[in-house]
């Protein structure tokens, strides 16, 4: 009997290219991802045309949220240690070494000095602590001398003495101007007049002189 072979088609189609692409995308995202530490406040920064890259090292960041609460963070743990040591001495906070260690691991801090000890004495692993951290009242800075933020800035400058400290201000779109002014004031009282405002990138609008300058620069290259 002549056997006519009918080629059997597999009911399932070949997934290999599909999987290849999927894993390519996966590896791309894995490499491109940078994990952000969890911040106690949410800040949506405004857009700007400036193209300067945000410095990541030696940064002293003041964040202001929608409601005008002011938070402070320092990136380098080594300097955090010096900073909290200084503050402990100059402001008589009476912190224990364990509490200072909590500060070093904390993302950003936004409490008056009077509450700093009680905030840092909490166990950072507990769920209740996370709520407390989210509800920090912010560092007071509402008077003409810059309030308590003045001391934070001063001691941060002492801790970074001899090195360039990048002063970053990260503020929310809806923050009212007076709060921002108070923060600037606290820096100015420390003779700091150069700041970096954290913004999201945006293209220069076409037809403007900045746009033309940038076009020329690109063409030169």
């Amino acid at each position: 009997m002549p056997s006519v072979k009918i080629k059997k088609h597999a009911p399932d189609n070949d997934m290999t290219p599909f999987v290849d692409v999927a894993f390519l995308i996966l590896s791309f995202f894995m490499l491109a991802t940078k994990f952000k530490p969890e911040e106690p406040i949410e800040v949506t920064t405004p857009n700007s045309v400036s193209s300067a890259v945000l410095p990541e090292k030696d940064a002293f960041m003041v964040s202001i949220d929608k409601g005008g609460r002011v938070f402070v963070s320092v990136d380098n743990p080594q300097f955090r240690q010096v900073l909290i040591d200084n503050l402990n001495k100059t402001r008589n906070l009476g912190l224990t070494p364990a509490e200072m260690k909590n500060f070093i691991n904390a993302p950003s801090v936004g409490v008056p000095f009077s509450q700093l000890k009680s905030l840092l004495s909490l166990d950072p692993e507990l769920e209740t602590t996370k709520n407390v951290v989210k509800q920090q009242p912010g560092i007071p800075c509402a008077d003409s001398t810059g309030g308590e933020l003045y001391f934070w800035v001063r001691d941060a400058l002492v801790a970074y003495s001899g090195r360039k400290l990048n002063l970053l201000i990260k503020s929310d779109n809806d923050t009212k101007y007076p709060v921002f002014k108070n923060v600037l004031n606290a820096f100015k009282k420390n003779d700091q007049n150069k700041f970096l405002l954290v913004t999201s990138p945006e293209d220069a609008p076409p037809g403007t002189s900045l746009y033309e300058t940038r076009e020329k620069q690109i063409n030169k290259k």
């Binding site: 994990f35 400036s50 945000l54 809806d174 009212k176 970096l196």
Partner: protein, 181 residues
């Protein structure tokens, strides 16, 4: 499912008689769980990734001076003051006196750029100074936006200073007349 190896039953070599065929194991591996996991990870990384790196905007503030004679004087012809009010509305005037008839005008962030460009073209480069005065009702976004306009129009000299009571009063009156709360 993907086939890793075709495994030909029409392969080249012929088995002799009596040679037992080795039992063929399926070379196909079920990839479904792996793909599932792969896509799960993709979704995870897509959500956690921050694509746009934040940029930094330079801001230089003038040092506070106590003595009025240390302050820089601005030429009447080159001064252009921008006041930031409520609800993303800006006010501006040329020269030093906001109270002159018709001098104090209202603009939005869209129209202020044309005004800046007009002033820039009609004034000598060395004379032009833009003074930015955010009022208490302005938001941080307004402040950054107006500083951005300076960069966009390539204004070399500008300063951010506090609003004076007279100017704030004018802003209030104009806002009241326009019914802005």
């Amino acid at each position: 499912m993907s086939s890793i190896e075709g495994g030909g039953d029409d392969g080249g070599h012929k088995k002799g008689p009596g040679v037992k065929k080795a039992k063929k194991m399926s070379t196909r591996v079920d990839m479904t769980p792996m793909v599932d996991l792969g896509f799960l990870l993709i979704t995870f990384f897509i959500f956690t990734t921050t694509m746009a790196q934040p940029t930094a905007m330079n801001l230089f503030m003038p040092k506070d001076v106590d003595k009025p004679e240390d302050q820089n004087k601005v030429k009447e012809s080159g001064a252009f003051t921008i006041l930031l009010g409520k609800q993303d509305i800006v006010y501006f005037y040329e020269g030093l006196d906001p109270a002159t008839e018709g001098n104090f005008r209202t603009a939005t962030f869209k129209t202020i750029r044309d005004e800046i460009i007009r002033k820039k073209q009609s004034t000598k480069v060395d004379d032009l100074v833009i003074i930015i005065k955010p009022s208490e009702d302005a938001t941080y976004k307004n402040t950054v936006d107006i500083l951005d306009e300076m960069t966009i129009s390539e204004i070399k000299r500008y300063a951010m200073v506090d609003i004076s009571p007279v100017e704030y009063q004018l802003v209030k009156i104009t806002e009241g007349a326009a019914g802005i709360k």
